[in-house]
């Protein structure tokens, strides 16, 4: 057992941290976020150039063979931005499905385009009434013309607006909540019958509600096994939880730092408010929650990296902690900043909003507490 990063991991970390420190000052991010696209193509090209987009793919597929630990390093730094380029959607979610289950031919077509920054992708897996149940899929893929016709409604598809390619979960057999019978498809986002309704998210990303109205794909569009999409989806969502949890840890760090800084300079009743014992104890608690979250992040990440059998359970534990600590730290940061914290101008609101949304992604704290409690 050891807690040290490798030299390569440290190099990546230093790089990403510098990028965030230097490129992600508030004004620049605001401008990017307000733009039509919602992220910076320049940054994206730079991600490609620096090899970050290939970090998570195996060397055989042209990547750098990174794993859970590399993702953690990357996303913890992203969380400090918070970075709004759609790395999660393209590389972790859609890319994760490809990495796990795509055929050699599919990989050859799609992975290099991701790595080179030429393709934006999205994973369309949630549905209006499915809430956090990954097996709850009513979108149907029925045989048609040597391929399949997809019909249904996918909800809050992250990076939907920019995606040129979608990975879609659809039911090929079984009842609505049956884990068995879900198949993953590669779908060109420009296909006939796709209707995207685009909107911004609360934390500055972009997403789409996507209607599939008899969208035709050929047999080669299937990723992995027919009916066998659920475990691939599950593993990929676990990766996404790890990544967003690392991001959350980065965001918590920034919130604690900003709050601490604020209380050292903001004076009330003649003294810096950091001198008030009540705020001191509350910030001590914020610090503890951050450290505890970081510990679980390490634990879950190392468990995944080592392929431990109960890694999924540890990931649920992490998601619970991220949800609860994120809520506490976020709310306290705003409260301690007072009126200032409520203004869009102060930057703390962005971390608070991102933390809030991370809780609601991929199953909130309640959902994962139940998953944790009922698995062993």
């Amino acid at each position: 057992m050891n807690f040290a990063f490798t030299e390569e991991q440290e190099m990546v970390r230093d790089f990403v941290e510098r990028f965030v420190r230097e490129k992600y000052e508030p004004d620049m991010r605001r401008k990017i976020q307000a733009g039509e696209q919602g992220f910076s193509s320049e940054h994206w090209a730079m991600f490609a150039e620096l090899g970050w987009l290939g970090l998570m793919f195996p060397e055989d597929d042209g990547g750098f063979g990174g794993g859970a630990i590399e993702a953690m390093v990357l996303f913890e730094a992203f969380g400090r931005g918070p970075v709004i380029e759609p790395y999660l959607a393209t590389v972790i979610l859609a890319g994760g499905i490809l990495r796990r289950a795509a055929s050699a031919a599919q990989k050859e077509t799609f992975v290099p385009r991701i790595i080179e920054g030429k393709s934006q992708m999205a994973l369309a897996f949630t549905e209006p009434n499915a809430r956090y149940n990954l097996a709850n899929v009513s979108t149907m893929a029925t045989p048609a013309n040597d391929g399949y016709a997809i019909n249904g409604n996918k909800a809050v598809v992250l990076n939907g607006p920019a995606a040129d390619t979608l990975v879609v979960s659809a039911r090929t057999k079984g009842e609505q909540q049956d884990p068995d019978g879900i198949t993953l498809f590669l779908v060109d986002a420009g296909s006939a019958g796709i209707n995207r309704q685009n909107f911004p998210t609360q934390d500055g990303f972009r997403a789409s509600e996507i209607l599939f109205d008899n969208v035709l794909v050929d047999g080669g569009a299937i990723i992995g096994e027919l009916h066998g999409g659920h475990p691939v989806l599950q593993a990929t969502i676990d990766d996404a939880i790890l990544a967003t949890s690392a991001e959350a840890v980065g965001a918590m760090e920034m919130l604690n730092k900003a709050t601490l800084e604020f209380t050292k300079t903001r004076k009330q009743f003649g003294v810096p408010i950091g001198k008030f014992q009540v705020l001191q104890h509350r910030m001590a608690e914020m610090f503890m929650e951050y450290e505890q979250t970081k510990s679980l992040l390490y634990r879950a990440t190392m468990a995944v990296a080592a392929g431990e059998a109960d890694a999924s359970r540890t990931i649920s534990a992490l998601k619970v902690q991220v949800g609860r600590a994120g809520r506490k730290i976020g709310q306290e940061a705003i409260q301690i900043h007072g009126g200032m914290g409520m203004t869009e101008e102060m930057y703390v609101g962005n971390y608070f909003k991102r933390l809030t949304m991370i809780n609601s992604l991929f199953g909130n704290a309640d959902h994962h507490l139940r998953r944790f409690a009922t698995t062993t």
Binding site: T126, P128, N129, A130, R131, Y132, N133, N136, A155, V156, Q177, Q197, F199, P200, T201, Q202, D203, F205, A207, E209, R266, Q268, F269, G270, V278, Q331, I334, Q335, G338, G339, M340, G341, M342, T343, E344, E345, G349, F352, K353, T356, M357, S360, L361, N364, D366, L369, R370
Partner: protein, 399 residues
């Protein structure tokens, strides 16, 4: 002790119901039911309708145009008004400066300002907070210097809610910097149309533009707009922080919101084949809020009853502020929880009548998260909840 309504109270309840069903603008109720944004003009119409019935000021003494209701009647009125879905009354005139004027103002001021407040002809806003003075109000620095029959006011107020519609602002200003911090402060009323006033919106984290910076550049204010004595403004203002005010806890609204949540939960899938209204985790959360609220409702009634039997409305009312806002915030969290994945969507204009923003997900979810963000303010404004705890510790516990 009796929890049941007397025959008279039942009759009154009926009267209130009939009023909201017949004599109140139905289009406003309709808008509110559909979660549409209520405009400033709607607000004024709503208040004028209440005034026409004589019900605009349940917390004012009858002699100044208040209702003179018993606690039970005030409770019934609040409950029925929330049930009917009428928007709440803008508090700055009726709940805040009005009581200050009838308590500390002179006869001329009462005559001049109270009718405009009761009739909702004047829209008021509050000028207390300053960029450099948050909870530590006493360190404010907006100056009012005497120049003949006028004060010349310069400085900046911030966090001023709905200043964009305001005709008048009541301000704490520094009329002297000689004495101890609190003692140089005066309470004055300023016409928002005075030259030298500019209002700049502050965008809040939910994207809203409810609050503003209000800048004063050598604004001339007649001396007759001073409330009470010069230098005693702090004492008047403190009344606002500790004085019991109807509805500060927002109990009736919160009850209505919980009913809405229950109705929504019974139509919202939990993803695993049950409705959210059958989901253990959600029910547990919801129930804890409901229990707090059931308790607070009686804490408020107990406070009102004590006031009626002659006990002064005490610092105990800080409980109403703290628990009331905590409950309001918890309710917004329940909505976020219910919204699930749709909590992510940011659709700021969705509920503005005539907007052409398409919704995603269930209709009620479009502002779930924005409201959660927005409501973080409730534990900060009106004397932050930390200040309220200080008040309890000092004034109630004697620490």
């Amino acid at each position: 002790m009796d929890i049941t309504f007397t025959a008279e109270e039942v009759e009154f309840q009926n009267e209130v119901r009939v009023f909201f069903e017949n004599d109140y603008p139905q289009d406003i109720l309709e808008k509110n039911r559909n979660r549409q944004t209520i405009s400033a003009e709607d607000m004024v119409r709503s208040q004028k309708a209440l005034h026409a019935r004589g019900w605009i000021a349940p917390n004012w003494p009858a002699e100044f145009g208040g209702t003179g209701w018993s606690p039970s009647k005030r409770f019934i009125f609040e409950t029925e008004m929330a049930r009917a879905g009428a928007p709440r009354v803008v508090p700055f005139g009726l709940s805040m400066v009005g009581p200050i004027i009838y308590t500390f103002g002179n006869e001329a001021q009462k005559k001049r300002f109270l009718p405009g407040i009761l009739e909702s002809n004047d829209w008021w806003c509050q000028g207390f907070s300053e960029p450099g003075a948050g909870s530590d109000l006493a360190s404010l620095s907006t100056k009012a210097e005497r120049d003949g029959d006028h004060y010349i006011v310069s400085g900046q107020k911030t966090w001023t809610t709905l200043a964009q519609y305001a005709d008048w602002i009541f301000c704490l200003v520094r009329t002297s910097s000689e004495e101890k911090k609190q003692q140089g402060i005066s309470f004055i009323l300023i016409d928002m149309k005075s030259p030298g006033i500019t209002v700049n919106p502050i965008v809040t984290i939910d994207g809203g533009r409810e609050v503003n910076d209000v800048n004063f550049h050598e604004v001339r204010v007649p001396v007759e707009n001073l409330i009470g004595e010069e230098g005693v403004g702090w004492t008047y203002a403190k009344m606002l922080l500790t004085h019991e005010r109807t509805g500060i806890a927002g109990v009736a609204r919160s009850k209505d919101q919980l009913e809405t949540i229950k109705a929504i939960a019974s139509k919202t899938d939990n993803g695993f084949g049950e409705m959210m209204s059958e989901d253990d985790d959600f029910l547990r959360r919801l129930s804890l809020v409901e229990i707090e609220l059931m308790a607070l409702e009686f804490t408020e009634l107990r406070t009102l009853a004590a006031v009626q039997t002659g006990k002064a409305p005490g610092p105990e009312s800080s409980i109403l502020k703290i628990k009331g806002t905590e409950i309001q915030q918890s309710i917004t969290e329940l909505f976020v929880d219910l919204a699930g994945n749709y909590a992510n969507a940011y659709l700021p204009e969705y509920y503005v009548p005539g907007s052409n923003v398409d919704g995603v997900g269930p209709d009620w979810a479009a502002d779930a998260t924005s409201k959660y963000f927005n409501y973080r303010k409730t534990s900060i404004y009106g004397g932050s909840n930390e200040i309220q705890k200080n008040i309890i510790a000092k004034a109630v516990l004697g620490l």
